[in-house]
Symmetry: C3
Subunit: 215 residues, 3 copies
């Protein structure tokens, strides 16, 4: 009996990890959508409502991560390698943390209008989160593993694009902005946004590694 067939045997029985991972990435879709909204409006009241919602969703994500790690501690048999489950849960949690971190800084640093680069990065994060959710939903049977691969390729591409947007935006800041305080604030927010896409890529890498072992 190959490892693969052992896997096929256990997967249908898993009622714990897959629903939790789907909750975690559905939450990423929500929180990233909220981030796009917050950088796309200049209405202060709406912004405050979005900031609060992002904070709430970050706590929701924390709870789901905590449940996944708890299940991992309690269960001897898991549908994937323990290290992959841990790495995937952690990467998804990190995405939510960095989304919250960027929104929190926009708020604290009183940025009334996000720059075009920030909007571009928020949209790339949203795309990557949407692909993460699609990929995670396919993990439970792996019948359409090509869909997972396609999502992972798009996530890698979003991360590459985010790198370019970030590098160009920072070089532009140094070229055109003279106020060091503004540069510091913007550069940090851009950096936190870019790191969110890195964490999406980390999650995609874990899924590709799961695919290699099982598909």
């Amino acid at each position: 009996m190959s490892l693969n067939s052992i896997f096929q045997y256990f997967v249908p029985k898993d009622r714990k990890f897959f629903p939790l991972f789907e909750q975690a990435t559905a939450n990423l879709v929500d929180i990233s959508t909220c981030l796009v909204k917050v950088v796309s409006t200049t209405d202060e009241d709406k912004k405050i409502a979005f900031y609060k919602e992002i904070e709430r969703l970050e706590h929701v994500g924390d709870d789901v991560t905590h449940q996944i790690l708890l299940e991992l501690s309690k269960n001897f048999i898991t549908p994937f390698d323990r290290e992959d489950i841990h790495a995937l849960a952690t990467a998804i949690d990190d995405v939510a943390d960095y989304i919250y971190g960027s929104a929190n800084r926009l708020n604290l640093y009183k940025i009334t209008q996000a720059t075009d680069s920030m909007v571009e990065l928020a949209v790339l994060i949203q795309q990557a989160c949407s692909d993460l959710h699609k990929a995670v939903c396919e993990l439970k049977d792996l019948k359409n593993f090509r869909n997972i691969t396609d999502s992972c390729v798009r996530i890698n591409s979003a991360e590459n694009q985010a790198d370019h947007v970030f590098n160009k935006a920072v070089a532009d800041l140094f070229d055109h902005e003279e106020n060091a305080l503004v540069i510091m604030k913007y550069k940090e927010i851009l950096s936190v946004l870019e790191t969110a896409t890195d964490k999406c890529e980390d999650a995609a890498n874990v899924m590709e590694s799961i695919l290699v072992k099982h598909a």
Copy 2:
């Protein structure tokens, strides 16, 4: 024979890991106490003595970490999962590194008087280190596992408070300080202090995960 009872069987025999972990967290209590002293004085001579002591204690911590990882490499049977021992040792080492990193920057950047936020963060680090030590000392028999849980809850709370202190301090800097160089120096020191509490939380998370498996 359950994993748990295997564990109970081996634990009394462990003479290697528990004493080393207790040394490592006792060292954290010392180095964090020294950090509180350094941010609480404006006496230059005392400060220099504290900086030297913090550097010495950081080396002591390095040696203990090295011994733990060496024991881990040499021993096939360990009282906890290998990954947990590695993660706990690394997190404790990171706490000492960040405490030293913050003291070193206070010295290099010639900060003659630490800000109130820096003092608050140093005190939170000291509290978290004290709780880490208490929790580690209970690990060897797990009879009073609720004490470990209580310590971990307090460490998580210290980390949350440190987040708030940090975010507020940085926002205040941007609001009230005009000198970009001062902002850069202070922000970096605050960030290193805040990261020390993150590493305390990492260590607490490992202990909670050990508890779930064994208590």
Copy 3:
């Protein structure tokens, strides 16, 4: 049959991991040599050629890392612990990433002349990469394990020196440079260079851990 002899038995058969690791560290020698060249010239055309070469070598490194992780996913039996192979491949990949990251920032921030500290750090990175390659080439038979230990000691020493160069350079910047934008750019480049030596040390630590288990 001891673990050690099982190891000795399997090692001669490994045709996958050792050649890939040697490729990965040979690539580090190339990319770090290119970094030294880029910080040692003020000729703009040569610099652009070096920047492009560093980018190309970073992609080469990515491909090798990807192959190592793919082999790791496909192979049940590996010459070292799976976690060590993963950690070593990741650390080597990180070194290349940080070298590329520093070159990319030199380019984006339009630094026409690298500072003495940047040159010193680039030379330390090159030395550490050269030692990493030497050590990795000895991993396949471990007959001369003392050579590996010697390389690791030199890498640790290079990292320590890099720490001192970095700390002194940043303190000097705050003391002698008034332009906050210049400080921000230089400090970030120095920090990325210093982190490259940290990643060399991470790789050396993995090799020392492999030695403890097998030599």
